[in-house]
Amino acid sequence: MDFRFDIFFQALTNPALQQGAKETVLLTIVAMIFGLALGLFVALMRDSASRLLRGFAWIYVWFFRGVPTLVLLLIVWSGLPQLFPAFSDKWFSQFFAASIALSLNEAAYASEIFRSGLLAVDEGQRVAARALGLAPRKVFSRVILPQVVRVTIPPLSNDLITMLKLTSLAAFISERELLANTRTAVALNFRSMEYYLAAAVYYLVMVSILMIVQAWIERRFRWTSHREKGRGGLIRQLAPMR
């Protein structure tokens, strides 16, 4: 067995890995924000009165959910510059290309989650809000949206964790995130196990932080008057890790 703990700990504190992890977090956040915004639009389009919009939304989900993320990434990074020379310029960075591909991919999944969230809100809620005299926009923002958010937190958190790991695909287009930087280090010192394990630790730590945040948000949406009682979302979330 050739495993050297000193090299493993070196890898854990390697500045290139730390820098890569920062890039991974940044890419995750950017892709998630644009993916969720676009996803909400697509979800509303799928339930719109216009046949054209509904058809467009359906095709969107069919395409971007069907094409593997890595293929999409390569189409955006290598394919677009071939069609449009403007994409060969300096501004079209690997980070930019990865953000686009991952957002488009995320929007397809998020739209389905938002749609099921909208369907999950009882029709009586909308009726009661209208009967009270709330204007249409307030019916959505004060009554429907808070309930959609509550039911979509768990699946969207799942997407967020998936996204964090999906960013590693950007290593294929030489985006300098965690995996790409780890591979560069391995190419220099040939210590695969120590370095890839260190990368795995980085991913695990980031995912764990996300789970804690999710549990905290879920607690805020429990809608009971005594929050301190009962098993919290945190315990439930961490249970599979023990």
Partner: protein, 289 residues
């Protein structure tokens, strides 16, 4: 520690005055101006869903301070009628009037009649209180938050002010102690009383109740009916779709029997319950008793 959820008996004793003294005063003044004035009126209302004609020309009126009970088998169009009166559904033909003014449409007299845009309908709806069979409380808000929402978002009251008014209203329906509870922590009867408070706090001209006790366990029906009877005594104008014959006898001054989208028979509770003229009314009332 007692169970915070179920304490209907204790709550029931706290049912106090439900209407503002000011509002009552207003109503008394209006009454002396014209004692037979109709608050809410439907004339020849038609409504169809697809091929089914649910309402086939329904007409009736409620005078100020009157309580009208609507009876009828399921599918007779009672709930649809209430939804049309509450402006939740546009009518296909006929008119709905509130305080003599036609509501739900624009371009009333003579010319083309079109439904009002949703934003303007919302304004008119705020003068009509509606209570649903399944309560439909907002689960993300406390009892207090449910009652405050309309005051803040529709009436434009300041939060502190709305808090004060909503709290008083909850005390009046006997739920002052439960104001910080979420709907999931309240019994069905308590939820329905919050729903009544939520509608009442808007100072509506008329309150519509759509089978308010049908979704309740039998032992919880009483506390809701007690609130409604108090409301009736204090002079609130009410239209109540109900199967509670005892309530109709005690609190209503008019009973309407509906079947297959039309009004079969209308009269005082005594007329409808003890000597119904229509054969179908007779059978329905016998089945209820």
């Amino acid at each position: 520690m007692t169970d915070p959820v179920s304490d209907p008996v204790h709550d029931q004793h706290k049912v106090g005055h439900l209407l503002d003294a000011a509002l009552l005063h207003e109503q008394v003044a209006a009454e002396s101006a014209g004692a037979t004035e109709l608050v809410l009126e439907a004339s020849e209302v038609h409504k169809r869903y697809g091929r089914t004609e649910v309402l086939r020309g329904v007409s009736f009126g409620v005078k100020r301070g009157d309580v009208k009970a609507i009876l009828g088998p399921s599918g007779s169009g009672k709930s649809t009628l209430l939804r049309c009166l509450a402006l939740l559904e546009p009518v296909d033909a006929g008119e709905v009037r509130l305080d003599g003014r036609r509501i739900g449409v624009k371009g009333a007299s003579g010319g083309m009649v079109t439904p009002l845009p949703e934003r303007l309908l919302a304004k008119q709806r705020s003068d009509i209180g509606m209570v649903f069979q399944r309560f439909n409380l907002f689960p993300h808000l406390t009892a207090l938050g449910n009652v405050m929402l309309g005051l803040v978002e529709v009436r434009g009251r300041k939060k502190a002010e709305a808090h004060e008014i909503a709290e008083q209203m909850l005390i009046r329906v006997g739920l002052g102690e439960r104001k910080q509870f979420y709907p999931s922590e309240l019994s069905g009867g308590q939820q329905q009383r919050v729903a009544i408070a939520r509608a009442l706090v808007m100072n509506p001209k008329v309150m519509l109740f759509d089978e308010p006790t049908s979704a309740l366990d039998p032992e919880l029906v009483g506390e809701v009916l007690a609130v409604m009877e108090e409301l009736a005594r204090e002079g609130m104008t009410m239209v109540v779709v109900t199967h509670e014959m005892e309530f109709a006898r005690r609190a209503a001054n008019g009973v309407l029997m509906m079947d297959a989208g039309v009004v079969l028979e209308e009269g005082t509770p005594d007329e409808i319950f003890t000597r119904p003229q229509n054969e179908r009314t007779k059978r329905f009332v016998e089945a209820l008793a």
